[in-house]
């Protein structure tokens, strides 16, 4: 058990490594942000049980490790080296980040349509700092979130997407965050910034993968700005090392009549948490988020949602499902806040969990806080097991119990997977879920025969 002083030191010691991290081009505005973030690391409350946001999610395991910044160079990587992690047939503009560093040679395009920038944040900081100064830090709040402060204080690289007014990007964008196992635990901190101007339209496939079973801490921050009438479809597939710590804090700002659709899969990692904060800045915007998480074998998976309906006439729907097996644990904390001015809000939040073992656990907490009086809101949560009647039905038709359980789990997950409109992405996701279920099905079968 670490003392508060120890925990504080864990954060502040990481700051001293800053010099060893390759410095990005500095600008006065960026220095100010970094300085503020550094100070915040000394003063922000530490993540612990008495904080609502960390009530069910302990960071003690994380603090056991000493992480080092990424110092290796990945420029020598060739496409052949990373073949196994690439999706076939997506027709996507592909970018690869290795341990948080952009690898130019793994990009599969030379030219982009007019008005489209897809590249690294570090590059953008040297080429278009004026625009970045406007967007950077607009939504991500390092004054409130200690891990966002850590990311900002040590900012190095990440994804930068900028799509200009009314540009409709036909091909999807695929970003592979590949974490290559190294001997010492690494601190990998991508900082992503996506800006879709008025009327722009894009699809993003964001994937988090590992090459092995190494320990690392992936502390990502994403800022997504959707201007008026912009539309983003976002697929987020996270499947990492069984010893990896993964935290991703995403901050999304939606202007008038913008649309955001996302399907997020959390399928692997020792400790994987995704925080999604959505802020409606005007009226008429629509947001639809879906998620599927699987955890077992002492894994923790955590999904936090903070949906701020602060303006009238915005709609949001959120549907998350989880399958927990073995000693897997899940935390779902979904909050929808409807301010008193946010009349005609239409907001719905659902979380369903399937527990496949006695030791599996879920802490689910959907919350609606409504201060307006003319709204349509609902929320619901379920935690259940496979129905014995359904299993019996399948078995009575000759289907082995392991396959029967797998079919029912896939049926449960299908509601989320079916939302993925890009076929290669959906097939890849389905295959990953299939393989995970195959691995756990045998253990389940043993238990059933007891």
């Amino acid at each position: 058990m670490k003392t508060a002083t120890d925990s504080r030191q864990w954060f502040t010691q990481l700051l001293q490594q800053e010099d060893s991290a390759a410095a990005v081009e500095t600008h006065a505005w960026l220095n100010r942000a970094r300085d503020a973030a550094r100070s915040a690391l000394h003063t922000l409350p530490l993540p612990e049980k008495k904080q609502e946001a960390w009530r069910y999610t302990s960071i003690e395991g994380l603090l056991e490790h000493e992480f080092e910044p990424v110092s290796a160079d990945f420029d020598a990587l060739q496409v052949e080296d990373i073949d196994t992690w690439l999706l076939p047939d997506t027709r996507a503009y592909r970018l690869v980040f290795a341990n948080g560093r952009f690898v130019p040679a793994l990009r599969n395009f030379d030219q982009l349509p007019d008005g489209v920038t897809i590249g690294s944040l570090r590059h953008a900081l040297s080429h278009d700092p004026v625009s970045l100064a406007i967007w950077f830090g607009q939504t991500a709040d390092h004054a409130e979130h200690i891990f966002t402060a850590l990311n900002t204080a040590l900012i190095n690289d990440g994804l930068f997407i900028h799509i200009k007014r009314d540009v409709i990007l036909e091909r999807p964008i695929e970003v592979v965050h590949l974490n290559l196992g190294l001997e010492t635990p690494q601190l990998i901190q991508p900082r992503n910034l996506l800006v879709l101007e008025r009327g722009a339209n894009a699809r993003l496939i964001e994937r988090y993968e590992s090459s092995g079973t190494s320990v690392y801490f992936h502390n990502a921050v994403s800022e997504i700005l959707l201007e008026d009438n912009a539309a983003l479809t976002h697929y987020r597939l996270q499947q990492e090392s069984p010893r990896a710590y993964h935290l991703h804090q995403s901050f999304l700002a939606q202007a008038a009549h913008s649309q955001y659709r996302s399907t997020s899969l959390a399928l692997g990692g020792k400790w994987a948490r995704h925080d999604l904060e959505i802020c409606f800045q005007a009226e008429g915007a629509d947001c639809d988020t879906n998620g599927l998480y699987l955890a077992g074998n002492k894994q923790l998976v955590d999904q936090h949602l903070n949906i701020k309906h602060s303006r009238p006439r915005n709609a949001s729907r959120h549907n998350y499902k989880g399958i927990l097996h073995g000693s897997g644990r899940a935390v779902f904390d979904g909050r929808i806040l409807v301010d008193k001015d946010a009349q005609k809000t239409d907001a719905h939040l659902f979380n369903k969990n399937l527990l496949l073992s006695r030791n599996a656990e879920v802490d689910t907490k959907p919350q609606l806080e409504i201060y307006a009086d003319d709204v349509k809101c609902s929320h619901g949560t379920t935690v259940g097991q496979l129905e014995p009647e359904q299993l019996f039905y399948l078995r009575s038709r000759g289907i082995e119990p392991t396959l029967a359980m797998k079919m029912l789990c896939l049926g449960f997950a299908g509601e989320i997977l079916d939302n993925i409109d890009l076929q290669p992405v959906r097939e890849h996701a389905e295959q990953q879920v299939h393989e995970l279920l195959d691995r756990i099905a045998d253990k389940l079968g043993e238990r059933l025969d007891d």
Binding site: F392, S396, G411
Partner: protein, 250 residues
Amino acid sequence: MLSIKNLRANVDDKPILNGLNLEIKPGEVHAIMGPNGSGKSTLAHILAGRDGYDVTDGEVVYQGKDLLALNTEQRAHQGLFLAMQYPVELPGVNTMTFLRESLNAIRRARGEAELDAVNFIKLVREKARLVHMDDRLLKRNVNAGFSGGEKKRNEILQMALLEPRLAILDETDSGLDIDALRIVADGINALRSPERAIVLVTHYQRLLDYIEPDQVHVLANGRIVRSGDKELAQLLEQKGYRWIEQEAAA
């Protein structure tokens, strides 16, 4: 084919079957009738291997094997089929996937090759015609949003596809209007064969207007209290079950 001797079973320590005897030969159609609570569905469930029943005495020999020693899927592999009284919905499980996994599991158990997708679809279409089942239903998830009649037709479709040696139809007539009843009965009649035995578990005689049984048994208080031919069913229809219960008690 099936020989049940002195079968006794409890549910939650309450005796439901109290020494039941039954002999069924290949090619025969037996009707088991009885009032509510007489143990009809319990018998069907025990034969199919459902959990929650304690067999306290007796034996069930099926094709020379101790049926009760087999688990549910092994019984299906050996050709036993139960058409459920209340077929459950399987959310997210596509009907075609379900039928294919089921058929292939049974074919594997019989040492036959699995059917490929094309031949499987052809076969399902052919069998679906037998019970007038719409293609649209086959594309849905299993029993999801099916009417009562559609669920029962889906059960008979599965029976047609899996070609069991012993089919037990648990209250297959319940909840069917007269047209649906005729379709289901026609389907069952089409599946009568010299190698296959069929057990109709029913409360009412009306199903037997369409499917003529070789033997009719009356179940009361967990035992077969009377057996006869189809005229016994007609007698029950006229006089009700009380008559036979009283006679059995006397």
